[in-house]
């Protein structure tokens, strides 16, 4: 009996410790900013690794999602004789929901897992502790540039995703379904508000960027330094950050929906 209670207590303490370490890491990353001159090349390298190299998958999936939404939307809207409203349908659903969420899920799979595996392996091969031996703070040298690069890359990838998806829908609607391009754009422009739709979507993506990189970096930094531990950390990164994205999306939408 007493053993079971102790196990429960240990479980609780471990959870609190875990969150505490994650919070401490985030605090260190945000509070001890590396100097701009020294940190900038590292940041650039990480934006390249996390953002530029994710570009292909974002563009391809953006184009196909835009076209699929246009095709499905046209099919349903034409039943009500409202196919002119295809532009607003695509633009609003992409800018408000699909853009930030799909980009975040792809980002978690493409960049988040790589971050966790990279840092986990650095820890397993004692690179992080040898940095500490050389009086180099691994949080500043390794964690911080990756964190900021993720926070910068996510909104940018979302903007590119939105653009490509809307252009894909335009291409499909005008060149395939034979809609009028003027009414496509003008209906879209009268329905979409820059502040409420586009900017809110970008705010969402910033929140997702912080959440994903934080989870990935913490999972990597806290991984058990074995091959199984790294595998676990990578899996958990993708699962946790996908769940976090979907949960946060619900909360953010509920907060933003009042203005729509």
């Amino acid at each position: 009996m007493i053993n079971q209670i102790a196990a429960l207590g240990r479980f609780g303490i471990n959870i609190v410790r875990h969150y505490g370490r994650a919070g401490m890491m985030l605090f260190q990353v945000i509070y001890y900013r590396p100097s701009f001159r020294k940190g900038f090349p590292l940041l650039l390298q990480q934006i390249y690794a996390e953002g530029v190299l994710s570009l292909i998958i974002i563009i391809v999936s953006g184009a196909f999602i835009g076209m699929v939404v246009a095709l499905q939307g046209y099919h349903t809207l034409s039943k009500f004789g409202a196919s002119q409203q295809l532009g607003p349908l695509v633009a609003l659903s992409v800018a408000r929901e699909l853009g930030p969420v799909v980009t975040a899920l792809l980002f978690a799979g493409r960049a988040g897992s790589a971050l966790a595996a990279e840092i986990g392996l650095m820890k397993a091969t004692d690179q992080l502790s040898s940095m500490e031996m050389m009086a180099v703070d691994p949080v500043r040298r390794v964690i911080a540039p990756r964190f900021w690069a993720g926070c910068i890359s996510m909104p940018i990838l979302t903007i590119i995703f939105d653009t490509v998806a809307i252009y894909g829908a335009f291409w499909l609607g005008v060149h395939w379904l034979g809609m009028d391009s003027g009414s496509f754009w003008s209906n879209m422009q009268s329905a979409v508000d820059f502040r409420l739709d586009i900017v809110n979507g970008i705010i969402k993506s910033m929140v997702f960027g912080v959440a994903i990189t934080w989870i990935a970096l913490h999972q990597g930094y806290d991984a058990i330094p074995t091959s199984a531990g790294i595998a676990n950390a990578t899996t958990r990164t993708v699962v946790y950050s996908s769940l976090a994205v979907l949960g946060l999306d619900f909360i953010l939408t509920a907060m933003m929906i009042g203005a729509w």
């Binding site: 090349p41 953002g51 570009l55 633009a91 940018i156 903007i159 252009y167 009268s190 979409v192 820059f194």
Partner: protein, 161 residues
């Protein structure tokens, strides 16, 4: 060194792509004009009922958009809705006895303000006020009136017999 250069070029192009995307989203998708707002002047109109009229709704003369609704407020004394309309500068000769009405685009479309010009030789200026206004048609009210008039007609006939 070559590797760094390649990285920098890649990130630079990445940021440029983002900027281009943002411009596309603001201009082409959301039709953002408030930053580069065309010069215009504002006139106000008091309506009893504005229905579903919203800010950024369009203002039309003869179906041509000539401006947009810039704000909607309530007059605390008369309890009328005060709608401020921003009219483009190139439409400056609106007679000041014109009437404004709130119409619906199609059966289920958005509401907009239609201005019907009349014959006065003096024109609206900035801060002008439209006297003659017609409220939005509310479908429920119309149905209510219709039902009422049917019932009323029946009872009248009954009395006459």
């Amino acid at each position: 060194m070559l590797q760094t250069k390649k990285t920098e070029i890649g990130v630079g192009l990445f940021l440029l792509a983002a900027l281009a995307g943002l411009i596309f989203l603001s201009m082409q998708v959301s039709g953002l004009t408030s930053i580069f707002q065309r010069p215009g002047y504002t006139i106000t109109a008091d309506f009893d009922d504005i229905g579903q009229l919203k800010i950024r709704g369009s203002v039309k003369i003869g179906g041509v958009t000539i401006g947009q609704v810039s704000s909607i407020a309530i007059d605390p004394v008369t309890y009328k809705a005060v709608v401020t309309l921003r009219i483009d500068n190139n439409v400056e000769d609106i007679p000041d006895d014109s009437s404004a009405s709130i119409l619906t685009a199609g059966l289920l479309g958005d509401n907009y303000v239609a201005i019907t010009p009349l014959y006065s030789k003096t024109f609206f200026h900035n801060g002008g006020h439209i006297q003659d206004t017609h409220s939005a048609m509310i479908l429920e009210k119309l149905i209510g009136q219709f039902l009422f008039s049917i019932n009323h007609g029946k009872t009248d006939k009954g009395n006459a017999k």
